[in-house]
């Protein structure tokens, strides 16, 4: 096939429509226009060395984004018109979406704000354009996610008021504080945190196997918004890698600063993604791959290739990578156990995995599941059968940095909780790990202000002194409807009715009189 000669090459077009539209200021100092570019200590000698591997111009951007949107919304319509929610594998699956909508979608909005701000701060036109496009992408992501979920909201509980919940529900302070930490950093740290550590190194774990899982569970709407969002991610990942290489190439003094950011944001991202791991291993009725397998492919393998590539700049893999590699066998079981026992305060239901699912877990986690985790599920199953479904009636300690309860075990001892504590200026602080302790010690003033949900309840700032009041008044969750055990929940009964599976026997201990909290 002969090729028609285009009017402009991609490279030239990009040059004209981005770099050439920037200008050198004449009557204002550059430092006054971009006042936040220097304070982090990152030295940029020559912004013209910034590479734009994707060379996407605004006209092409709108063209491709419009095409994605048209495809996406046609599918949303079809999904709603055909009662697609009834074709999912099992109603339990929707609980993963509740977590996604209240935990992840608000982060997309946070990313929109973050990139809008960061883009404003760079004096290099290439970086500004990339940030601007990403800001618009992120806004699109939060919108499409809300639109996709709005259909589920008509038929399932717990999807209402997700933005309100994001700001208040105890465990949602984990994603919220992650992003607030990034957004309150300088523009270069923000890009290292979100574009590199999160987008490049870790989001594949969120969007690739999980969305493939959505497809495998018959959720056409979610797989479609997931992959539509992820199609922007190729650009975001490229920006992430580019910004790191650019900073490293600009000045050798940048290397230790960036290394510390990589160490910090890898660990923060890893802690955050333990929620995603749980969704994959415990919340997808049809399972695609285990968290451990996904970690091996998308972190150990891909991250290995990446950090080998970055060796030439003097960058080493993240400091606590080994602990994360050990944790892949454990964290999802530990997180699910946590939500199971604190389900009186969650916006989704929890349950004991079926025998078949436990068999799958045992196969995927041959060195850990049967030995360390099956005994607790067996016990809880027996309690449930006796009408004493297990709930933990206390409130948990929280890590001062990641805000996850110290529920993970020591890397060298799966029977001992990992916990670190220090005194700082006369106050005691507690952490889940060496990684979080390091982060605190580098910038203690930032983390002493942490809004820890458990402490806020005890200070009397959450509209109630008992869990049920806080859950109902402060979180806007309806006890017995939005939370607690799945089996016997209104949603469970509705699903059986849709599927004409007959009236279930009232499962022991699953009535709404559960003595939650």
């Amino acid at each position: 096939m002969t090729t028609q000669k285009k009017k402009l090459s991609l490279k030239d077009k990009y040059q004209y429509l981005t770099r050439d539209m920037a200008w050198e200021p004449s009557y204002q100092k550059k430092a006054d226009i971009f006042p936040d570019e220097d304070f982090e200590g990152i030295k940029i000698v020559d912004w013209d060395k910034w590479e734009d591997p994707f060379r996407l111009t605004m006209d092409a951007y709108w063209k491709y984004q419009a095409e994605k949107e048209k495809k996406l919304y046609a599918i949303f319509d079809a999904f709603a018109q055909n009662n697609g929610h009834q074709n999912i594998s099992d109603a339990r699956y929707v609980n993963a979406l509740k977590l996604f909508l209240s935990g992840v979608s608000p982060l997309e909005y946070g990313a929109f704000q973050g990139y809008s701000r960061a883009g404003r701060q760079f004096s290099g036109a290439g970086a500004r354009v990339a940030c601007q496009m990403q800001a618009i992408d992120e806004l699109r992501h939060v919108q499409t996610q809300i639109h996709a979920m709005s259909h589920y909201n008509k038929h399932f509980n717990g999807l209402h008021d997700f933005g309100h919940m994001h700001d208040r529900v105890w465990f949602l302070s984990v994603p919220k504080s992650f992003f607030d930490d990034a957004r309150s950093a300088g523009p270069f740290e923000f890009l290292t945190a979100i574009s590199f550590s999160f987008e490049y190194v870790l989001t594949n774990l969120l969007f690739v196997p999980f969305m493939s899982g959505a497809a495998y569970n018959g959720d056409m709407a979610t797989v479609t918004f997931g992959f539509s969002a992820q199609s922007d991610e190729a650009r975001h990942m490229t920006l992430g890698l580019e910004v790191i290489k650019f900073m490293l190439e600009q000045h050798e003094d940048n290397v230790p600063i960036i290394q510390r950011w990589i160490d910090k944001w890898f660990w923060r991202g890893y802690r955050l993604l333990s929620l995603v791991g749980m969704m994959m291993d415990y919340m997808l009725p049809n399972k695609v791959m285990s968290w451990a397998e996904a970690w091996e492919v998308y972190y150990e393998q891909s991250g290995g290739a990446l950090f080998k590539d970055l060796e030439r700049y003097g960058i080493r893999p993240p400091k606590y990578q080994e602990q994360a590699n050990i944790g892949k066998e454990h964290i999802t079981h530990q997180i699910w156990s946590t939500f199971y026992q604190y389900s009186q305060a969650t916006n989704f239901h929890t349950w004991i995995p079926s025998d078949q699912e436990q068999q799958w877990l045992a196969e995927k986690y041959p060195d850990t599941f049967d030995q360390y985790y099956r005994p607790r599920f067996d016990h809880w199953q027996q309690q449930h059968a006796k009408g004493e479904r297990f709930y933990n009636h206390t409130l948990p300690m929280l890590c001062q940095v990641c805000q996850v309860p110290p529920l993970f075990t020591e890397p060298d001892d799966p029977t001992m909780l990992s916990h670190r504590q220090i005194m700082h200026e006369g106050e005691r602080y507690h952490f889940c790990s060496d990684g979080c302790l390091d982060i605190f010690q580098f910038e203690p003033e930032k983390y002493v202000q942490a809004w820890l949900p458990v402490h806020q309840i005890y200070q009397g700032n959450c509209e109630g002194s008992d869990v049920q009041t806080v859950v109902e008044k402060y979180y806007h969750l309806k006890t017995g409807v939005d939370n607690l055990e799945y089996v016997g929940s209104p949603e469970y009964l509705r699903w059986l009715a849709w599927k004409k599976l007959g009236t279930p026997q009232a499962p022991a201990g699953a009535d709404s009189k559960l003595d939650a909290a």
Partner: protein, 90 residues
Amino acid sequence: MKQLAFIVFQDNDNARYLVDAITEDNPHAEVQHMPAMIRIQAEKRLEIRRATVEAKIGREWDVQEMLIDVVSIGGNVAEDDDSFVLEWKN
């Protein structure tokens, strides 16, 4: 240690031609099918050539059209009018 460059596409009609073209141009590539997605990985380097895709798809094809169907990538990106390359250089 292996250093795999990879690209993941949505499993749709466009992707079929892309995958055909990529496997032709990258004999060392491995194709993995998963629910709703296709992952292609190859040691060090993976290339999409416009000419090959156009021959498969039977029309003009802009390299940037891959942005509609791509799900994820791994490797340093180099893009021009004729190709899209993912590569680990070290």
